[in-house]
Symmetry: C2
Subunit: 204 residues, 2 copies
């Protein structure tokens, strides 16, 4: 069907998926707290009742949006290279893939990282995010115990710093920016190299 | 002079310094945009006219607060160990000291990192912050040129990731938190080790 007025999408041209893409953009701009159903209706160009046709409300939209980020992140832990093998290689895989997922799902992970607050949807997102961090910290600690990684850096601190590096992408990475050549693969390589091998030229 | 009612400081018990400590706390909680002189007056427990006795207004308070963070950061570049010697050693010093300054001046650097927006005070802070980042990127590039650091990681990308690591501290570091033992020195060591040497146990 041809949309005769593409600036004002027809209600039936929306799916939960496309509604979510608009929603996550508005949440990231105005904050979840600061966004009303009225704001979402205006941004989507459809009435509030059309939105309620798809979802029960703002909280369900948050659940769906951060759920998408969390599913992608937890999915990494089930990948074969994350699930078996020496701990340091598994960690390397998880660090690389977390960076790639953050870039692929940038608006959704941005929302996940910015969630604060006291509604049960936000609390759930924070808990799940901490759970993911905890899995990575465990993997790092296992690689220290197996002697693959240095024992003189506290695993919990190292995990926080690695996530600090990866999560900083939501502040500065722009998919269509002027960062010529800094594509997802190059960035993931740099994160892995910095955290595991360091920048210093190895001595022979 | 004994303050007979310490919960409501006397106007003359305030200096610009102590007023700034209250201000930066409120700016970090509510955002600079979202803070009115009324909010500051309430938080400080003194009248607006008492605040105007010290400063011309909200913009001057922002200038003073981010100025304090910026002075501490730019001060690092003038330290002897940052100003002379092999580029990689100078970079190591700057990375370590930046981490230490962030911890020592946590609320002020937090404000600096959160500044957005279009007032001239905010724009000035953003420009100066980018200038500092640029100095560090230059130092990193010099260490690549001299062969001390690896040429296969883009210096600009590496700088962003190192700052990502350091700046993440404003999200998770709490001076009186339960991070037993994760003091400023340990954190600065970890940042230097991760970014320059990596976590992997070196092969002999």
């Amino acid at each position: 069907m041809v949309d005769i007025n593409p600036t004002r999408p027809r209600r039936d041209s929306y799916t939960v998926e496309t509604l979510l893409a608009v929603t996550v953009k508005v949440f990231n701009e105005r904050g979840y707290d600061g966004t009303s159903m009225e704001d979402l209706s205006r941004a989507a160009g459809i009435s509030k009742s059309s939105i309620y046709h798809h979802v029960r409300g703002k909280e369900e939209l948050l659940n769906l949006a951060v759920g998408r980020a969390l599913d992608s992140l937890f999915g990494i832990l089930d990948e074969p290279a994350a699930a078996a093998g020496p701990a340091a290689a598994r960690l390397e895989h998880v660090v690389r893939r977390t960076t790639e997922v953050l870039i692929a799902e940038l608006p959704y992970v941005t929302l996940l990282l910015r969630v604060r607050g006291n509604t049960s949807a936000e609390q759930w997102a924070l808990r799940r995010r901490r759970e993911f961090d905890h899995h990575v910290a465990e993997l790092l600690a296992a690689a220290v115990r197996s002697g693959e990684l240095r024992a003189d850096v506290d695993p919990r601190l190292a995990t926080r710093l690695i996530f600090g590096m990866i999560n900083s992408l939501v502040e500065w990475y722009r998919p269509e920016g002027d960062d010529k050549g800094a594509d997802a693969e190059q960035i993931a390589d740099a994160v892995v190299e910095l955290s595991l091998s360091g920048l210093r030229v190895p001595r022979d």
